[in-house]
């Protein structure tokens, strides 16, 4: 039987504890860095002005890495149905992001006559969020 399972479609995923690490990193980026932003602005406005962009980039990067770890860590029981739901969720996230990238600049152009591009990191975060939400919702439905 174990030999048979080797030939089943598989995804190489991270161990389950990476879910906690990923969620921790994401919350750290969202809460701690936000607090740093608020207090640093009041305590040292000059330093804040210099570090603002750096902190924003670091915050985005930590959020992305956190979401990525969370998204691709194994569930407690990872079986063929979970794999199917993962693949469906990836497809939904992919389609959603493509539509978002196409429609958002078009809408901005029609609405305010401005040409705008969508930020790459925003696309990645959106894709991960849609993937994770779809995965969780579909798993609950099953």
């Amino acid at each position: 039987m174990e030999n048979l399972q080797k030939h089943q479609p598989q995804l190489r995923l991270l161990p389950n504890y990476f879910k906690k690490i990923g969620m921790g990193l994401f919350l750290f980026a969202m809460i701690v860095l936000k607090l740093v932003f608020i207090y640093l602005k009041e305590l040292n406005p000059v330093w804040f002005e210099n570090c603002h962009d750096f902190l924003r980039i670091v915050g985005f990067d930590i959020s992305i890495i956190g979401l990525l770890l969370f998204a691709f860590a194994k569930d407690e029981i990872e079986d063929e149905l979970t794999l199917l739901i993962r693949l469906q969720s990836i497809a939904y996230a992919f389609i959603f992001v493509i539509l978002f990238v196409v429609i958002k600049p078009l809408y901005a152009f029609i609405d305010s006559n401005q040409i705008s591009e969508v930020d790459g990191k925003l696309i990645i975060i959106l894709m991960l969020v849609v993937y994770i939400s779809t995965f969780i919702l579909r798993k609950k439905k099953m």
């Binding site: 039987m1 048979l4 399972q5 089943q8 569930d75 029981i77 079986d79 063929e80 149905l81 979970t82 199917l84 798993k139 099953m142």
Partner: protein, 66 residues
């Protein structure tokens, strides 16, 4: 596709969770197979067959529109 998993499970007097544990899948997977929402792989079908002591054809049957 219809199946007799629920009946076979009742014969063995085991819950969905117990069956899931025996064949190494989640309870949701067993539930989805039982209600016909998900058709399992050959490996999983063979595992069920081995556990119930009947053939795969006796567990899973094609319906007219399949």
């Amino acid at each position: 596709m219809k199946n007799t998993i629920k009946v076979e499970r009742a014969k063995l007097n085991i819950t969905q969770s117990e069956l899931a544990e025996k064949i190494g899948v989640s309870r949701q997977t067993i539930n989805s197979i039982e209600i016909g929402r998900y058709v399992p792989s050959t490996t999983l079908a063979l595992k069920l067959s081995k556990l119930f002591g009947i053939t795969v054809n006796e567990i899973f049957k094609l319906e007219e529109d399949d």
